[in-house]
Symmetry: D2
């Protein structure tokens, strides 16, 4: 995690940021019934109460315990319950079991949040300024919480969207306006480019270091593929023709029996999709959502194009209108040249996932504001559909 040497001067900004970001997680969960906090329909989707506890555990474990003298742990058993994948920090709950735990209760977890937030306030008050390693960990904790805010949104959608009653998350949820420009390809010439994070401010370790890449001539689409365009693929039998698909993608099609993106339902010949406002008619102009890497690639193959690489995406980002969907790239998630894993538990953050996943670039309507940047490297497995993921074409 890189941070600038000026950060330590901005303790007050960080305090303010801490309050805002922590409150936002609570805000996201406000429309939920208590029962919605508890369930885990598939292993990838965590119960919302777990997200609330786990992000709090991060601040307790990495800030308060090591740096706030005299700190009393809220409940020593919570380390066991809310650790996720940090092998360094004690035993962890097997991931698929999270949905079996009715306790700690939602009220317990909100108390845990309040307690840790109060202690963090005392901690801020005590410090004239935050030293470099503390500020870095704090920034990391806040970015970590923002990542879980997006997961809260996607996991809540999965939980409610797979309930036979299709309950809305928010009846009056406001969707981003979807106006559809004509699709045009933007050209870039061959040459040596630089990618990776530079400058001041926070970034994740996987964005470093800045390095040169050679790119051949390429073209990249000015906008994402729309629902209307994706529907043409479905209607042309795209899910029935193995030739468009990776071998593993075709196995996925046959096993899952899917014939459309996640949340799409054809009801009496009308395409509907489950949204945060409940089941709605499909918005044909909106960018296609909830497709996995196999679907994104199959669509691109069918169009005679391909997905951009992450380097192509990054150097063209300033000319793209990004932020609607996480955009699958054709790049596998691998370390940048010179990547070094940091020591200790925070070093487990990114590096150990660098195999068998694909890079996604941009951000989505579910991302927390200010969380992303053009060097940001998101990553998911090729079969994952439950994130807000879309398709940008290249050739």
């Amino acid at each position: 995690m890189k941070t600038t040497d000026t950060i330590s001067k901005h303790t007050i900004d960080l305090e303010e940021k801490y309050r805002k970001i922590r409150n936002h997680s609570v805000h996201i969960c406000a429309p939920l019934a208590i029962e919605d906090y508890v369930v885990q329909p598939i292993a990838d989707v965590s119960p919302p109460k777990w997200h609330l506890g786990h992000t709090t555990w991060f601040f307790e474990t990495f800030l308060l315990i090591p740096y706030f003298t005299g700190y009393q742990v809220f409940d020593p058993q919570y380390n066991y319950v809310f650790n996720s994948y940090y092998e360094t920090v004690g035993a962890r709950v097997i991931r698929t079991d999270r949905g079996n735990l009715s306790r700690p209760s939602v009220a317990d977890i909100y108390q845990y949040r309040s307690y840790v937030d109060e202690q963090m306030q005392l901690f801020f008050d005590q410090k004239f300024h935050l030293s470099e390693p503390i500020a870095t960990l704090l920034e990391l904790g806040l970015n970590h919480e923002q990542q879980h805010q997006e997961l809260l949104i996607t996991d809540i959608k999965y939980i409610l969207g797979h309930n036979p009653l299709f309950p809305p998350y928010l009846e009056d949820y406001i969707f981003p306006a979807a106006e559809l420009k004509s699709m045009e390809m933007i050209s870039f010439g061959e040459g040596i480019y630089e990618i990776g994070f530079e400058g001041t401010g926070f970034c994740f370790d996987n964005e470093c270091g800045r390095h040169r890449v050679y790119l051949a001539d390429f073209e990249i689409a000015n906008r994402l593929v729309s629902n209307r365009e994706y529907l043409e693929f479905i209607e042309a039998g795209g899910y029935l023709e193995f030739n468009h698909w990776h071998a593993e993608g075709w196995d996925w099609v046959k096993t899952s029996q899917r014939r459309s993106p996640l949340y799409w339902h054809q009801i009496s010949n009308q395409w509907m999709h489950y949204t945060h406002a409940g089941l709605q008619e499909l918005d044909l102009n909106a960018p296609v959502n909830h497709v996995n890497f196999y679907e994104a690639t199959a669509y691109a193959n069918w169009k005679g194009m391909r997905l951009p690489t992450e380097a192509e995406w990054e150097i063209s980002a300033d000319q793209l209108n990004w932020g609607e969907r996480w955009e699958w790239t054709g790049s596998a998630y691998l370390p940048y040249p010179g990547f070094k894993k940091e020591a200790g538990a925070v070093g487990e953050y990114n590096g150990k996932f660098m195999v068998n996943q694909m890079v996604l670039r941009g951000s989505s309507e579910a991302s927390s504001q200010g969380h992303s940047r053009k060097t940001y490297r998101n990553f998911f497995h090729a079969h994952h559909q439950w994130q807000f993921t879309g398709i940008r074409l290249a050739k």
Copy 2:
């Protein structure tokens, strides 16, 4: 389901019984946090809210809809959510998915209960007396609810007892006194005996018809095997010697890695067990609890004895002090001679389970009062441990 011809005269009794039994289910759930109503840690354990909804659905589906003219269904989707195994009555939720459903909420389900109870009251008010088929269905519905009351208790125990925080169900839960008589064997001579339900009152279809059996001489223990006695089996290496076990039992031992009954934990050389009042020191005088058929048989083999057959149990029941644990018998769950499945959905109640399960006799401290009788035939699979199940020896 056999009922006496006098039942239809006792509409008022049934009304009263309806109110008491329905209230008792709510009473059982009173100590729960809302989160506890939702989870399903294993397929056999249903979320408490599902039990509350399913028992209500029974009255709506089999009484109100067919017999109460003008009845308005509470929510037409609930049939899909709360049907269990009744194939006759529409699509059913796949059993293992119950724990993924955060909605209907607990509040919704209590509303559903209130609505159906009010409608049942109107229905009672309208009828001068209940006709025979209605009274029979009502009795069945109430016995069905009592069965789910026991499941509520065993499932809640499983949910809380498999939480790493070991939350108690009720801090001041009162346990039945456990005084330990010396074990003696009661002798019965060979001859023709009669078993099966007779007389007036309710019984399940699987208890009929009354029929003759020939029994050789046998002896049956006057009390159940205690925790102390079972502990001797453990300490003698009972779980390490395949010779005591059925082949499938031995596979279960190796796969499950169990070395003691469910809920037992050896903590710093002290045997503890999870109870409704939380984690407690093992009561050595109490009858052993939560053993499966494999364990019961292995224990009996080790003692050079056997489990009683269900016929032996029934004809000696009057001389036994039964009611503490469901008692595994050596009898497979099969139809009695002349057993006839009733027509329609209620006919699915028992007959279709008559393969690959073992009969248990008696009742347990978790059974609802007045629910059992000496002809009652309970049944579970040989590997099931989560019911309140114990061991009575015979030879």
Copy 3:
């Protein structure tokens, strides 16, 4: 295993029997290609070469090693490879792995058979007469080999019958004549009857001891259900109506997607079945074959009848024309009153399987001659189809 006290006088008879039975196993395998000896398409079906090795291992392990002084084991690793379920006798190969072992080769195993047969001859030559325990073990070994002879036939049928080329076992295989009598019900009156083995000669431990049972009036069919009759059940939608089935049977129908007995294929509107002579037109007059307990029960339910209990079958056996199919009974496989497991490895023979299986009575066209008797208790799991199993009705 009960044997008469006269057996020890008949050493010469046993020698002769040994040669005949051992040769018959080789005779069964004569039509096989070497490749056919090796494969294991499902866990229940063992490779033929394994059967040949395992039956030989029995004589080596239980006769030659303990009783023939100076005996040199053929290969000490064979105990590991050819032990089946005898936990007493060292580690065993996990059952599903048998089909992965290309060695010992078929030639090695035939050498092993020759070696053990020669040693057995030397052993016979040395003894003037066989002592009681040795004669008993020898009888057991021969009956064990006959059981595996039937398994050889059923497993070979499975291996070749699940090959897309449908190779015949024997082009000129001769089928038993199938003449169809009219079905009549034979009546028996209520009363006390005796069942279980009595008299001289060999029997398995599970047939003992002879004991009394009380039976109500019953009727039993004079012949088995034919293919034509079973086809009527199929054509009446028998596999589509859950009401005929056990709950577990209905799960099996839905999971397996079966709509007919094993080996039936509907090819251009013609019902064919795979037989030892290859794919043939279905013989409508032959007794239905390769149905499991679920199918047998569903058929009987559809006819408004039931399967006989094993006691009913046994006391009527003399008036039945049995021997064409193993006949599913409605009795679970449980110990007879007074059943005692013998000490040591032979005690593992039967007792430990007495849970979750159903009794079959009679014998089949695949059974070795002279192997069965009317007290014989065969047993398989309710879902098994690959044995030669049929249906006899009762009421």
Copy 4:
């Protein structure tokens, strides 16, 4: 598949090559017992007889049927049995079922080979020279057969090496001499390099097109990691420290319980490994073999180094002594810029596997002579151990 325009003039060379390569497959199988041809211990390992049939099917399907007028198919059912993953060419046998098929017999398959080879000879005789597309397909078929020759060797090793008798493939198998140079790092400067196939001769589609890459300064080891060096990693607790591993690698360690490369066995404190000559003492100087990508990466992490990228490997290949092991690279298997899948079934050859696999470079002692080149891109899943795979360090 690129081939030079001069190939069509060299029909005679191709004929000669065809005979040599086809004979070599038979030569590899010469030491096998018939039983060894049949089994499939895991899904990744195919029965040797299947490899022999499948490579023959390739020539029949892509050469003889479309281009040799009047060709009579050997057996129309073989397309079903021997097709592997070519979805374009009819139904295929589910991969895990190959080990269940005892027929076609080994003799049948050798007859099939002879028949196709004779027909190919007639085909060669008829043509004065082979046209470009035919020569290309022929080259592809021969390279395809060479790939299966390596699989034959690795699969035979797996089949015999997982048999409890550890039968050798060839008692007198001769191993490549293992002399161990001191390990030195060779340096390369940053800059633009070109990689990918160029020139004349055969290459696979995945090696095209030649393209520029930018590389930073790097160093690459002059030799592979030895068994001795890898043993140090084991003895230092390398398999017990999650910090060296990818998260998925650590899951693999815990699930598989592996603590050493495949085929290693610690027997009375002596490290042995199964080889083609049977179980032997571990050769400490030989390059480590049968490690998967997780193990290779964990080892490199432990050494504070990394695996080379495939571009680094290719541009340094002329200075490396490669050919002993397939060398895991840190590069995911993805299309080169401008990669185009060919039309028809041969287009399925490589492109559809370009997800979730890692690139391996070089070749191994199990590779057929002349099959590889420095632009060759092999690929396997990260968990695969059964190929002859080793580790080269970079930094």
